[in-house]
């Protein structure tokens, strides 16, 4: 139990833990001090925005509440005229150097700057003058950087370092000319940015956002006869949040119903392809284990992680599975198997993937992912947030939607193993369920692989399957994964199979997911930033538990696909359609 101290806020006495920042202490006592750069328990708190200023008796000048710890006897005034004026002044200065096209901004409605402007009573044109020279970087499919909307809070700088250990972003230039940018103000495409989008998730304004493909999808409805949509598992775990649902509310049925009302020719689940991926990848692993192939095998369904590997660990590329990521496999199957069975010309098909991910926007452009007549396997990727936008745009009222099922048309079925792909450890668990069956002919006990669940940096398990020892590891976020990769580089890795996800927590915390900004979530608990990942994960785990079919190899549509069309797992046709390759010189030629 931490030591308590007595403080006064607005003249009222409180007892709080010693060492808390004034901002946190005030929150516990029922006061929400406006702030901008502070985020996530001070992990991104640089005290740079000067919006959270309060008056502390006896202190020299005003104090930044996000960084200043409470001590015994402290007397804090939030609403003194001096403090109120100071906070308003900081916001007004920010507004004076900010883009003014709120209507077009992707963050309209969720902009933290506009929020504090309203709360502090900032006057619109209090200060007018020159604007800092803008850099607009739209080259990267995954992320757009618009410095005219940047308030230099520094959250993204910290986040990239913290989540991925890379630190692509930093402050460039000095004084009024300062902007946040990759080194030399390069584009994300010309720097080793993995486009994971973690920076977008923490940005308080529209300075960082995904590259919108909504207009591409709109256009497709006029140019292509068959616009087919597929959704990733992680999307359903969070889409409801965009419509006011509490975090952790399943949204599968409503999501499908909404998609049915948006004019798509078919609404499929990427989980089908996830099962397909498992069949290919588990077989690939068993083949490597049998024939002395490169071990450990590394999963390859996270394009953020694949980008990282190509930039920083090209020497271990031979370890990566050559399987495409599920949605790419899905696109390839749609344009081949599905098209053929329905007598459709693949050129008339436009595949849209709804993803929790921004890196997938880049992934779909890779020339290695164009299996059928050189057409891209996937034509457009929309993030969960973009999907919510087009649902709202169509006038669909979320909470009035019924629950509907995905289209049962050749590639409609999915297993529980496919669902859990969206969580860290999910791919591993799914793969082990199938590997176990392949090695023993029996179904594994469903709880046998729970060791790979959870949010520890690295999770390990050692299994004895019918005399074969299988050692596995799971990691998420490149900073966490680095020790595993260094082991492989040194040749000392003890594992057979490693799952790596680009985003901490897995896809449910991807760069395209709904923003979790406590200031806009008054109905969530104060510690929501510590619990939202688990809440989203539980949606997927419970959906897995509800399935009748829980193993990828029992997916009847997958079985029929192999029987009627693909032939052998990892066979010739499977390789043609479902496998990809990687590029080892990206660090020398970024953007190539």
């Amino acid at each position: 139990m931490a030591k308590l101290v007595n403080i006064k806020i607005e003249g009222k006495s409180f007892q709080v833990e010693e060492g808390l920042t004034i901002l946190k202490a005030a929150k516990k006592c029922g006061f929400e001090i406006p702030s901008l750069c502070a985020f996530n328990d001070g992990k991104c708190s640089l005290a740079s925005c000067r919006v959270c200023l309060v008056e502390v008796k006896g202190a020299r000048g005003l104090v930044a509440s996000c960084a200043y710890p409470v001590n015994e006897g402290m007397e804090i005034s939030i609403s003194s005229a001096r403090a109120v004026k100071a906070r308003r002044s900081s916001v007004e200065l920010l507004l004076s150097n900010h883009s003014k096209n709120c209507q077009q901004c992707s963050k309209n409605g969720q902009c933290e700057l506009l929020h504090v402007a309203t709360i502090t009573g900032a006057r619109d044109d209090a200060y007018t003058g020159e604007l800092t020279r803008t850099t607009l970087d739209r080259l990267a499919p995954g992320i757009v950087r618009d410095t005219s909307k940047c308030i230099l809070c520094g959250r993204c700088v910290v986040r990239c370092k913290e989540a991925q250990g890379i630190g692509i972003l930093g402050q460039e230039f000095r004084g009024f000319k300062t902007i946040v940018a990759p080194a030399d103000n390069r584009s994300f495409m010309h720097s080793p940015c993995i486009q994971c989008g973690q920076c977008i998730n923490v940005c308080p304004t529209g300075a960082l956002s995904e590259n919108s493909e909504i207009s591409a999808v709109d256009k497709a409805f006029t140019t292509h006869k068959y616009v087919i949509v597929q959704t990733a598992p992680a999307v359903r775990a969070a889409i409801g949040e965009e419509f006011g649902e509490k975090i952790g509310t399943p949204g599968t049925g409503k999501m499908v119903a909404a998609l049915h009302r948006l004019g798509f020719y078919r609404v499929f689940d990427v989980n089908f392809s996830a099962d397909l991926t498992i069949i290919e990848e588990a077989n690939e692993l068993l083949l490597r284990m049998k024939n002395g192939g490169k071990l450990p095998q590394l999963t390859s369904c996270s394009p953020g992680w694949v980008n990282y590997m190509e930039y920083f660990y090209p020497d271990i590329i031979p370890h990566a599975s050559t399987c495409k990521s599920p949605h790419e496999m899905g696109g390839a199957i749609i344009k081949s198997y599905f098209a053929q069975k329905h007598n459709l010309d693949p050129k008339d098909i436009f595949v849209v993937s709804i993803m929790p991910c921004t890196a997938k926007k880049y992934e779909k452009t890779r020339p290695e992912n164009a299996a059928v007549e050189n057409l891209p396997d996937v034509d457009a990727v929309l993030t969960t947030r973009e999907l919510a936008k087009i649902i709202k745009r169509a006038g669909i009222v979320w909470n009035k939607l019924p629950d509907e099922d995905f289209d049962d048309d050749l590639i409609g079925e999915y297993s529980g193993a496919g669902v859990i792909f969206g969580v860290t450890g999910g791919v591993m668990e799914a793969a082990l369920r199938t590997a176990y069956h392949a090695l023993t002919g029996k179904e594994a006990d469903i709880v046998a692989f729970k060791e790979v669940r959870g949010l520890e940096n690295i999770k390990e398990a050692e299994l004895d399957i019918n005399g074969t020892k299988v050692r596995v590891a799971v990691s998420h976020g490149m900073k966490n994964a680095k020790p595993l990769l260094d082991q492989i580089r040194k040749g000392t890795s003890p594992y057979h199979f490693i799952e790596i996800m680009g985003c901490p927590g897995g896809c449910i915390n991807g760069g395209g997911q709904p923003f979790v900004k406590p200031v806009f979530l008054p109905n969530e608990d104060d510690d929501i930033l510590q619990t939202y990942i688990q809440k989203r994960a539980s949606v997927l785990y419970s959906e897995d538990e509800r399935q009748i079919v829980r193993q990828s190899h029992n997916n009847k549509d997958v079985i029929r696909l192999y029987k009627d069309f693909l032939g052998e797992p990892c066979g010739h046709k499977a390789h043609e359609l479902l496998h990809t390759s990687y590029v080892s010189d990206r660090v020398r030629f970024p953007g190539k």
């Binding site: 640089l46 005290a47 740079s48 002044s89 004076s96 230099l152 004084g175 300062t178």
Partner: protein, 623 residues
């Protein structure tokens, strides 16, 4: 040759003292020529003088009897280059390379004083042979500058012979860490970098922290425009500062010290590195110093052109290889500083004073200065004053004494207007403040601050609004850009000042500027932003009439602001010589030689002032 024990150090000091005394007394038949090697003198030929002296002396075979040394800044910069001759301490001023032959023939060999190289006191018109006879020097007391201008700064023996390491010896043999801090506390020494924080208290915070690793950092990033106190101390007697750092290290139980010197001071850096190397050679820096078990290593780090890195936490970030941006405090550096270890950051001048305090005792030090500001302060006196240069005066000296007695008053018969202390962080003091004693608290109470010691004198030809704009331009250039009020607020303030000086502002703008100034002052993260508004606020309070003139009358009373003034040739006074037209870079002056008065076209004129400065008949005025 290593010095291995305290007794060996004592012996070495004694023998060096004897040597140095002999050098200056000439008792062994030698002479010593000390040439001021301050950058002002170097830029007017001192380097040539030194090499010529050495060459000529060798030609005459006198190189063993007559030593030539380049020493630290004498301070009397307007009268340089200087040579001080020992024995006798005759001071030759405004020496030119052509004078070298005469100096050797007539003084060195002939033993006669060269009258025309002696300073003439402007008040009495009498020659003043030595510094003791010159007003500029009379009121000064050299404590931070102790040894500077006397010892060869690249010679450890001379430093040891002039007081260096006596204090260190005393500390390391007879005092405990807490006792050192108590002595510094007793002395009332306050930080000389501008903050004026009690040095002893800062050291106490660091001593109280439990850590295996602690650091002493010396802030040599002197960035105020016009300030060169720290540079002169580092160039003149680096040993004093190193000794101060080591005593500080002993006091807080640190094992390493870092000098952070701006890269624009290459001579200071090389002198410092040389001094460190010499001390390492004899074992006074390193492991188990003098066999006492005290380990201390000293490193030098360079700045890279950022004024903000003079702010202590930005400085620490810079040493760590990160962007030079300040950190929020708490935690303070004494608790979590360099690499998150307890660190004290002290200014060059502060550390230079420490050995003096220990050597002579706190009781001696407190005799100088005022009640709350003890000791002396080094000032770089510049601007519209006759004796520009480097001075060190006891706290409590009045501004009038500084400007008139030491500074020699305002040149060209102009009227004193203001003195700016504290650089871009300070404010203006005016006629009403002339008899105020210079100390930390008095200056703050009167709307300025001590700052690091820059003091710029201004006269009736200075426009105070332009002065405020100048400092704000500097701040905008140097702001790191981290926090909102400084990054954007100072830029907006500059935009207001540009409006005012260009005649586009209204009275509402003056109010808005004032309000914004207070916002920047109150809300900024670090000292740079928190003091950025001081020049504006200070000039608005003391010279509001000038602001009103710019805003309401659209006039600049001092005729400085280009958009609000013009150069005008008085037709009746014009002698039609055409000199102005010939020098005009944009050919905007028309007239017929010898026939018609010349005329400046105000639409083409770029206000460069060339015509004004070349007119032989003072026919051109500013209005």
């Amino acid at each position: 040759m290593r010095i291995n024990t305290p007794q060996e150090l004592v012996n070495k000091i004694r023998s060096c003292e004897k040597c140095l005394a002999q050098k200056f007394s000439g008792e062994t038949g030698t002479k010593a020529l000390l040439v001021c090697g301050g950058l002002g003198c170097i830029s007017t030929g001192a380097g040539d003088i030194i090499s010529l002296l050495k060459t000529k002396l060798e030609e005459k075979g006198l190189q063993d009897k007559v030593s030539v040394d380049s020493v630290g800044c004498f301070g009397f910069c307007s009268q340089g280059p200087f040579i001080r001759v020992y024995p006798g301490e005759t001071l030759y001023r405004m020496v030119k390379p052509e004078d070298v032959d005469r100096i050797i023939e007539e003084d060195v060999i002939g033993g006669k004083i060269i009258e025309d190289l002696i300073y003439i006191d402007p008040k009495t018109n009498q020659p003043a042979r030595t510094e003791k006879d010159i007003d500029f020097f009379k009121k000064q007391i050299k404590i931070a500058l102790y040894g500077s201008g006397i010892i060869n700064p690249e010679n450890l023996d001379e430093a040891l012979g002039y007081g260096s390491f006596r204090a260190f010896h005393k500390v390391i043999t007879t005092m405990k860490s807490q006792e050192v801090i108590d002595e510094i506390l007793k002395s009332g020494l306050r930080g000389r970098g501008g903050g004026g924080f009690p040095t002893g208290r800062k050291w106490q915070f660091a001593l109280d922290q439990k850590s295996d690793v602690k650091y002493v950092v010396c802030n040599g990033d002197e960035g105020d425009p016009g300030a060169f106190m720290d540079r002169s101390i580092l160039e003149g007697n680096p040993f004093a500062v190193i000794e101060g750092m080591m005593i500080a290290g002993y006091a807080i139980q640190a094992t390493a010290g870092y000098f952070y010197v701006r890269a624009e001071y290459p001579l200071a850096v090389s002198r410092l590195k040389k001094a460190i190397a010499l001390l390492e050679e004899v074992g006074l820096i390193g492991d188990n110093i003098l066999g006492t078990g005290f380990n201390f290593r000293v490193y030098v780090r360079l700045g890279a052109g950022a004024f903000v890195c003079g702010e202590e936490t930005a400085l620490l970030n810079s040493i760590e290889g990160q962007r030079g941006q300040p950190r929020p405090r708490p935690p303070f550096p004494a608790v979590k500083g360099l690499w998150q270890k307890p660190t004290i950051v002290n200014n060059v001048e502060t550390l230079a004073v420490v050995p003096y305090v220990i050597r002579n005792g706190a009781d001696d030090f407190v005799k100088l200065g005022t009640e709350k500001s003890k000791g002396t302060k080094v000032f770089a006196l510049g601007g519209k004053v006759n004796n520009v240069g480097l001075v060190e005066v006891p706290m409590g000296t009045t501004l009038r004494e500084l400007i008139y007695d030491i500074g020699g008053g305002i040149p060209h018969g102009k009227k004193f207007k203001a003195i700016q202390t504290g650089g871009p962080s300070g404010g203006c003091l005016t006629e009403k403040d002339l008899d105020a004693p210079i100390d930390y608290d008095t200056l703050i109470a009167r709307g300025s601050m001590m700052g690091s010691g820059g003091a710029i004198v201004m006269d009736e030809d200075n426009c105070m609004v332009d002065v405020a704009k100048f400092y704000m331009e500097f701040i905008c250039d140097e702001s790191c850009g981290k926090c909102t009020p400084c990054r954007i607020g100072t830029k907006r303030m500059l935009e207001y000042l540009q409006k005012i000086t260009e005649g586009r502002a209204s009275l509402e703008d003056l109010d808005a500027l004032t309000e914004l100034a207070y916002a920047v002052k109150e809300n900024s993260l670090c000292g740079l932003g928190q003091t950025a508004a001081n020049p504006v606020l200070s000039t608005m309070i003391n010279f509001r009439d000038e602001y009103i003139a710019h805003v309401v009358d659209k006039k600049c009373p001092a005729h400085v602001c280009k958009k609000l003034m013009e150069y005008y040739i008085i037709p009746e006074k014009c002698k039609k010589c055409g000199k102005c037209a010939r020098v005009c870079p944009v050919s905007c002056i028309s007239g017929v030689l010898g026939k018609t008065p010349f005329l400046i076209d105000p639409l083409k004129c770029i206000k460069c002032g060339m015509c004004y400065s070349v007119c032989p008949f003072d026919s051109i005025i500013k209005r």
